[in-house]
């Protein structure tokens, strides 16, 4: 009976781990959307994929049905609970209420000077070289250095965190067991590191995010060390690769679309609008949820307990919601994209990410206004929220 129900949507078999030249995954996702509102991928344990803006927005706005107790299709029964990402209901609301003031637009504006300084230092370190790999020389390092700043950690720790990040997010190789071991070891190392920071800040609090979290109130109680550790490790994972990947997509776009690049250099006031459009057109994050009851989406039954992917690009590149959805129009206004998700789990760091991207691009173009993709460069990405692997660019030295 269940088998019959499952076959009411098209069934595919593809590995989201497969690296493909940049753009091919989006083209593939666009074809899936044209094919049906719901498709099923038999990969891993098998999961459903929603393909249309309306259904994806509705799912994000209904977290009781589309629960974030499991957020990756490969792991429907996780042993860990990232805070606040994987919480639900009132517990999640309380964490978000506590966290909100530190991540509000106003609070984030207060960090602009420090963010600008970090961006400038990093770009200065390679600006007179005439070439760089956007990813390794800038995009990965920039958000990590901001994370250290927010956590009140010395910038000298950058290399250590870069190594951990590489092991957690970019482990590659033929043996999945080795990759998993590397990941787990690095996650434990980050966790142990933040646990020692939490202990230090209990003794000697400062202005940083860890010290602030010590004051959070949950119906009269404060957060436990274990909760704080989960929160800090999650902050580390959530804010680094996402900003890095987005920056990679944007600079790749600008390196290959000189008319857009020139316009941003000539009209810097357009940048905030352009960043929203880049977020929409290159929404690479592919969140998943666990369905808590039997549902039907566009006529396709999805049984309780199933994992469902809600790829953001499926929503933001849907022609039913956005005119010329497949095109980048850097002056698109209005633009109500959901690149940061929607509903109560909307990306907490969205405003920080916006400022980081705007500032990084401003500082980049002040120093390097003209650049292009290195000859023969091939940029690849996987179909799992990974971002470009490399974006080699060259420019004429002044």
């Amino acid at each position: 009976m269940q088998q019959q129900a499952v076959e009411q949507c098209p069934v595919h078999t593809y590995s989201p781990h497969e690296p493909r030249p940049l753009g091919e995954w989006n083209a593939f996702f666009d074809r899936l959307r044209e094919e049906a509102p719901v498709v099923r991928n038999t990969f891993a344990g098998g999961y459903f994929v929603l393909t249309r803006y309306e259904d994806i927005l509705a799912a994000y706005q209904d977290p009781d049905t589309y629960s974030s107790e499991a957020v990756t299709v490969m792991d429907p029964d996780p042993a860990h609970r990232w805070i606040p990402h994987m919480l639900g209901g009132e517990e999640h609301r309380q964490w978000r209420r506590n966290l909100g003031p530190a991540f509000s637009p106003r609070a984030v504006s207060g960090l602009d000077d420090r963010v600008r300084q970090r961006a400038g230092e990093l770009i200065d370190s390679f600006a007179d070289r005439g070439s760089c790999d956007v990813m390794t020389d800038f995009a990965f390092r920039f958000p990590t250095s901001i994370f250290l700043e927010l956590m009140g950690l010395p910038s000298g720790e950058l290399e250590r965190f870069m190594d951990w990040e590489a092991d957690i997010l970019h482990s590659r190789g033929p043996d999945p067991a080795t990759i998993a071991r590397q990941r787990t070891a690095a996650l434990t190392a980050v966790g142990d590191y933040v646990s020692s920071v939490i202990r230090e800040r209990r003794a000697d609090p400062g202005e940083d995010l860890v010290s602030q979290a010590l004051q959070f109130r949950f119906e009269g109680r404060t957060a436990t060390d274990e909760e704080l550790r989960s929160y800090c490790v999650f902050m580390f994972m959530a804010g680094l690769d996402t900003v890095a990947a987005q920056l990679g997509y944007i600079l790749h776009h600008l390196a290959t679309h000189p008319e857009d690049r020139r316009r941003i250099v000539d009209e810097p006031e357009l940048l905030p609008v352009a960043v929203e459009e880049f977020l929409r057109a290159y929404s690479f994050v592919i969140p998943a949820r666990k369905v808590k009851r039997d549902v039907e989406v566009a006529g396709c039954p999805i049984p309780a307990g199933s994992m469902v992917q809600l790829p953001l690009a499926m929503a933001t590149r849907d022609a039913a919601a956005f005119e010329d959805a497949g095109q980048v129009r850097i002056d698109r206004t209005p633009n109500n994209h959901i690149a940061f998700g929607a509903g109560p789990h909307r990306c907490l760091g969205a405003h920080l990410a916006r400022h980081e991207l705007q500032i990084a691009l401003t500082e980049w173009h002040r120093r390097i206004p003209e650049y292009r993709l290195a000859e023969g460069a091939v940029t690849r990405e996987t179909g799992r929220s990974s971002g470009p692997d490399t974006v080699p660019v060259v420019w004429d030295r002044q």
Partner: protein, 63 residues
């Protein structure tokens, strides 16, 4: 012109405040502060942009 914001839907994207931060005021968590209010004359266009920019589609305007 009147603005109505569904505060249950508001998730703090703050795109309305980006359109006009004086008309679309935020609380200190970064979410919409007011559910119903008059749009001051002269701010109608910004209000339309705010409503059309809301990812949650939480803002409706009435004349």
């Amino acid at each position: 012109m009147q603005a109505h914001i569904d505060l249950n839907r508001c998730s703090g994207h703050a795109r309305c405040a980006a359109a006009d931060e004086e008309v679309f005021q935020l609380d200190d968590v970064g979410y919409a502060l007011r559910a119903e209010f008059d749009v001051p004359s002269g701010a109608e266009q910004a209000a339309r942009l705010a409503a059309a920019s809301c990812p949650e589609r939480a803002i409706t305007l009435t004349d």
